[in-house]
């Protein structure tokens, strides 16, 4: 067997993991754009943008299928263990969060087609919330790309504010409904949009939690933000334990390789 053979095989595994990373990040980018466009189509009453957004959801769904196939193949042919397996399992879940976010964006865009912009202060609130949610999404994806735990923790911490804002918006919409019952139908639609934005933000938090899982092996799904911080710092101080670092996705994988027997 040529001396280079093992090296070559490892390289192909690397390639495959790289392909998965690229795929998930491009899916993330598409979803981020879909959310931005969906919000814009509502605020600006842009029917053409709304239709494009709905149409483009098909591409996002297709990427999910492709990603599932890739991860399945890797599991069968490479039988990953430890950090690599953690990563693959995280991707399997991540892809679902992204696909849901895409669906929510398409749903918001559909609402844009069903409503005609009537003067309402509520649009301002939607726009502001939209900006915060897009920022969360962007940061979560950034954290994923760079293996940035601090950024991930930040996304999780900020979710409280988004929830607060959403509750305030629910109270706000109630007052508008009572002021002008003729606007109720329209406002119900917009209130649904606000809820969908809040759900998108929840998914961004899921992405952030998966980033923490990938980079530190800690499952932080059901614990509060304080505990998350403690957990991550604690592991950093433990002697002999893997140092949690800001490892970008590509470097993380090559670090793991050296640990594999």
């Amino acid at each position: 067997m040529p001396v280079n053979a093992p090296h070559h095989i490892m390289k192909r595994f690397d390639q495959e993991m790289d392909d998965v990373k690229k795929l998930i990040l491009s899916m993330g980018a598409l979803v981020e754009r879909a959310i931005e466009n969906a919000i814009s189509s509502i605020i600006n009453q842009d029917e053409s943008l709304a239709r494009k957004t709905i149409e483009r959801d098909k591409t996002i769904n297709a990427l999910e299928v492709e990603c599932d196939e890739l991860t399945r193949n890797i599991m069968v042919r490479r039988q990953p263990a430890a950090g690599d397996l953690r990563f693959i399992i995280a991707i399997i879940k991540l892809v679902e969060d992204l696909e849901h976010m895409g669906d929510l964006a398409a749903s918001i865009a559909t609402t844009a087609l069903q409503t005609s912009k009537q003067p309402s202060n509520y649009y301002d609130s939607i726009e502001t919330m939209g900006e915060k949610v897009v920022e969360q999404m962007h940061n979560a994806l950034d954290a994923l790309a760079r293996g940035d735990i601090e950024m991930a923790i930040d996304v999780i911490a900020r979710d409280k504010k988004i929830d607060k804002r959403h509750r305030a918006m629910q109270r706000e919409v109630l007052t508008y409904m009572m002021e002008d019952p003729r606007s109720i139908s329209q406002l119900l639609n917009l209130s649904t949009v606000a809820k969908q934005l809040e759900r998108i933000s929840d998914h961004a938090v899921n992405v952030a939690k998966l980033v923490i899982y990938i980079t530190s092996g800690q499952d932080v799904r059901h614990i509060d933000i304080k505990a998350v911080k403690e957990l991550v710092n604690y592991n950093n101080d433990k002697p002999g334990k893997d140092k949690v670092s800001k490892a970008p996705l590509s470097d993380e994988i090559s670090n793991e390789e050296s640990e594999v027997e």
Partner: protein, 215 residues
């Protein structure tokens, strides 16, 4: 050697069965939760609300247990083909179960906040609730028996649930216009309908996952 392999296979099958059992008990908890939540609508009860919250916690615990088992199976058994598809589907649908649990808890907390008003609307909600429980029940029945036919049925029936949901929302709108002072309560009820519709969506997702490994 053959006997040892057989023995290993049996243990492997047992482990897969164990995973399935956990998921099915989670499914039962979710089903009961939805029924309890709908019950809180008819007769608001703090006890029932607590029961649902505890159920939600239990579902989270089982989720963690199941996931650990699934991962351990992946590492030790290196499943392939349909076994792998099954394990992957399980990992994905654990999330759906978690959401369904949360949605039930959400319904019951909204139910506690409302005062029972338009009776006809409650009838509509009750009826929708019953349909959604059937969807959840059948989705997990399909999982239990790897029954893709039943899974397809659940997916097809979702159209009716969506239709019913839209009718309910129009109904709410008329009540809101008739009685603007009740808008706050009616919004809560409208949200209950939304949560039910989302639970139904998750049942559809579970069914699609069943199809992914059983076809």
């Amino acid at each position: 050697m053959a006997k040892k392999t057989q023995h290993i296979m049996k243990r492997f099958d047992k482990e897969l069965e164990e995973v399935k059992e956990i998921v099915l008990s989670m499914g039962e908890l979710v089903e009961q939760s939805i029924k309890d939540a709908m019950e809180t609508l008819i007769s608001p009860s703090e006890d029932l609300a607590h029961k649902i919250l505890n159920c939600d916690k239990k579902i989270e615990e089982l989720e963690a247990e199941c996931e650990e088992l699934a991962q351990s199976i992946i590492v030790r058994r290196q499943p392939t083909a349909s076994d792998l598809r099954f394990i992957i589907a399980i990992i994905k649908l654990l999330k759906d179960l978690e959401y369904m649990g949360h949605l039930s808890a959400s319904i019951s907390s909204m139910a506690l906040q409302t005062v029972k008003q338009p009776t006809e609307y409650y009838d509509s909600l009750e009826s929708m609730g019953e349909k959604v429980v059937i969807q959840v029940h059948d989705a997990f029945k399909a999982l239990a028996n790897s029954n893709s036919k039943l899974a397809h049925k659940v997916i097809d029936r979702d159209q009716k649930i969506n239709k019913r949901y839209r009718v309910i929302q129009r109904e709410v709108l008329t009540y809101m216009l008739e009685e603007p002072h009740s808008i706050s309560h009616l919004l809560n009820l409208s949200n209950v309908a939304k949560q039910l519709e989302r639970i139904a969506d998750h049942a559809v997702h579970v069914s699609k996952l069943v199809i992914s490994y059983s076809e």
